[in-house]
Symmetry: C2
Subunit: 459 residues, 2 copies
């Protein structure tokens, strides 16, 4: 494409508030030159002309700060751009936007709040920071009159937060259900396709570069809970304490249950689930059985997908790569562009980082997990002898839990065999209490019953 | 949710350009109170509090214009809102935004240009208008310094245009491939599931309310071509003449070919396809065979899905209801909110309607269809006798078309039988020329060969 012949940076026509003090360039500083940082930098350099033609002014990445100034990240930088000098960046009055990509809590928070304090706009991909310290960051940004962008914190390159706050802005959000962590989805995909046990699939994911050496945040559902908390707070205009999000990971899932799911026409996914119910919000993360024909069941490997139901739009799904240098970098730069467009038009605060106006938010109760009602998959390891199932069914019945179907394959007289019970909708409290009752009776089960919640993917 | 106790309309904090002349309300006029119009009105009334809490000022739908002021659309309107008085709306200086939902070309264009001429911002769902007269509308809006929103023109409630211009703004778009017309996708789904012939499935779609009495635009691919032209012009910053989009509908598709597709592990969909190739753009609409496991093959009934590949983000897919009163209304209101946010911050023109700055666009050549290379499905009706296939293969070979596989099921000596040929990648020009050669020989084929293009859904 020949773009030599055009004037890429001229605005189409001066408007009222362009006339004075027109920005001819937006300057950007980047803190943290790791995987996502190098992706964002590569995009800002390689696609600079394209971006300038869209925004109307060039975006110039003039400072990158990282302790490591020697490693090759595969990005050719102009001389003097990369340094370990954070103060130099913070005290450079020409920098309009600071991108924070150091990750973690403390230092990242310091960087973000210092930048805000200096009157700079902030872009971050740090879901942990936002899920835990988001309110503090947003309040500081509001006081300083600067923008905070964090599209990259959820769903990698998928423009899901922008869709919640802009594209679906006219909707009461009825539910958000999604696969939000590529590492655990990769592991589950391997367990299903190759029949592997969790530890084996994890080791393979680590070898393939899809899981970190310490995979805790990913496999224990913490990362998904952070992302869900961010989405819920945007969708409902209610601050969310991530501790109120029930969080259960995939680390205790067995190959046996993955296989039974297939036999039942279902697939196990680690889902983040938020639903609006009678003025309250359900917000929970756990391994979930869904019908194998459901759209989310078609999402394999490191892909993410988020299914949103709005009262007007009905159901909408967003699908893409939930992580990686360039996909996440794409989301980072989309926020930089968004803010640059605001800077150019002096329209900062146009969309508040909280989606709702700060003083129009209303806390909504996050419903405790025991108030959930859903369907359950229960796998009981029982001695293969008459009467056992009827005793278990009796205990479930005492707790008003109705059985939809029972699956028992193979018989091994005198041995322990798995019996799979699918329940009708029941209350979490009743199910947990009933399982305690059953688990206490070693004559009935040789190990604690395995429970997996079933999601019907209606609103 | 109790929102009585909050001040929904107060901005969180005055900013520089809020201080003067603050808008305390954004007023909206709607022209065309049909299916989409009543959906948009219902959302603006029912979700008014929610929207005000997000935008910071209330949006007030104060005038609706339609010839029919008596029909019940299921929306309760304040007295005096609905009238046939278009001049009253246009000459009401308090109206900031005009929503055009009359459809068609001439009157819609008149409404849009008159509103722009009066300095009012415009929201429309009219893809036909934009695909044909978009350049004229955008130029007028640019001159008048007003915004034009048209998210609802593509993909119903799916925020796809906003994603192309904002969420994926940092990307060179490599391809856009999608199911963009719910009516034809519904018909194709019925043909596949129930083995119906096209005319039968169309009649059923009409009976079910999914196809109009005159379904020409939908089934002949014209609607998809309009939508593709709009997306291409946004993605590439190049004006697109919809006449340059090769357009072939589903009206000649037979149940036999749908069944063969299934036997070959594929599904037939009406796709809009745009690809960036060596500095040029492919833009085409036709029935297409895709692998039955491809994400787009999972899109059934009236749903739409659009698969975008960007150089940074990789592949992203958007899925949802592509039509209907409330889903399309949701997109209409998202544009109203977007413009209201601009009005409030005096930031109109923040994102140009052409996605690229008007003077930064560069015409890109739309590659003529005969320059396409892809794989082909060819069904030949041949006499069941030795030597026929080898003659056809010989003619294909003379045109450098290489055969990947041949499928011939059942034998009926002396009768006409279908033979299905799948080719390797070949040039459209070569295939069309070869088919002419074969079709001329009535000893080889009893009717013209049926051709369906095959898409591999790579970038």
């Amino acid at each position: 494409m020949n773009i030599e012949s055009i004037r890429p940076f001229a605005a189409s026509r001066p408007r009222s508030n362009d006339a004075i003090n027109v920005k001819t360039q937006i300057r950007i500083g980047l803190v943290g030159f790791g995987t996502v940082g190098s992706g964002a930098a590569k995009i800002l350099f390689d696609n600079a002309d394209l971006i300038a033609r869209r925004v109307g002014v060039p975006l110039s990445l003039t400072r990158i700060v990282d302790i490591d100034v020697t490693a090759d990240r595969g990005v050719v930088l102009p001389e003097g751009v990369l340094s370990p000098d954070l103060d130099g960046l913070m005290n450079d009055p020409s920098i309009d936007i600071v991108i924070e990509l150091v990750g973690g809590y403390d230092f990242a928070k310091h960087v973000v709040l210092e930048a805000i304090g200096k009157g700079k706009h902030v872009v971050t991909a740090n879901k942990a920071l936002l899920a835990v310290h988001g309110e503090e960051v947003f309040a500081a940004a509001n006081r300083a009159g600067v923008d905070v962008g964090f599209e990259a914190s959820v769903g990698g390159g998928i423009p899901i937060l922008r869709s919640l706050t802009e594209g679906l802005v006219a909707n009461h959000c009825l539910s958000i259900v999604g696969i939000m962590n590529g590492t655990s989805n990769y592991i589950l995909t391997q367990m299903k396709r190759e029949g592997r046990e969790f530890q084996d699939a994890l080791a393979q994911a680590q070898a393939a570069g899809y899981a970190e050496a310490d995979p805790t945040f990913d496999i224990e559902g913490i990362d998904t809970a952070h992302k869900l908390a961010i989405m819920v707070s945007l969708a409902y205009g209610s601050p969310v304490n991530v501790k109120d999000v029930y969080t259960e990971g995939i680390q205790r899932l067995s190959a046996l249950d993955v296989r039974y799911a297939s036999e039942l026409g279902m697939t196990v996914k680690l889902l983040g689930v938020a639903k609006f119910r009678d003025g309250e919000i359900e917000a929970r993360v756990h391994p979930t059985m869904i019908d194998k024909t459901a759209p989310l069941a078609q999402v394999h490997g490191v892909y993410n997908a988020i299914h949103v139901v709005g009262d007007a739009v009905g159901d909408v799904m967003f699908y893409g790569q939930g992580a990686g240098s360039l996909p996440t970098g794409s989301a980072v730069v989309s926020d930089v562009v968004d803010i640059a467009r605001n800077v150019r038009k002096r329209a900062c605060g146009r969309v508040p980082p909280t989606s709702f106006q700060m003083d129009c938010r209303v806390p909504i109760r996050i419903r405790p997990m025991e108030e959930l009602t859903t369907r359950y998959y229960l796998r009981c390891m029982v001695p293969d002898q008459p009467g056992v199932l009827s005793k278990i069914a009796g205990i479930l019945g005492n707790h008003s839990i109705s059985i939809a179907s029972v699956l028992q394959q193979g018989r091994q007289e005198g041995q322990t065999v798995p019996v799979v019970i699918m329940t009708h909708r029941a209350s979490e409290h009743a199910v947990q209490t009933a399982l305690q009752d059953v688990n206490r009776l070693s004559s009935l089960v040789s190990e604690p019953i395995t429970l997996i919640r079933v999601e019907d993917q209606e609103s």
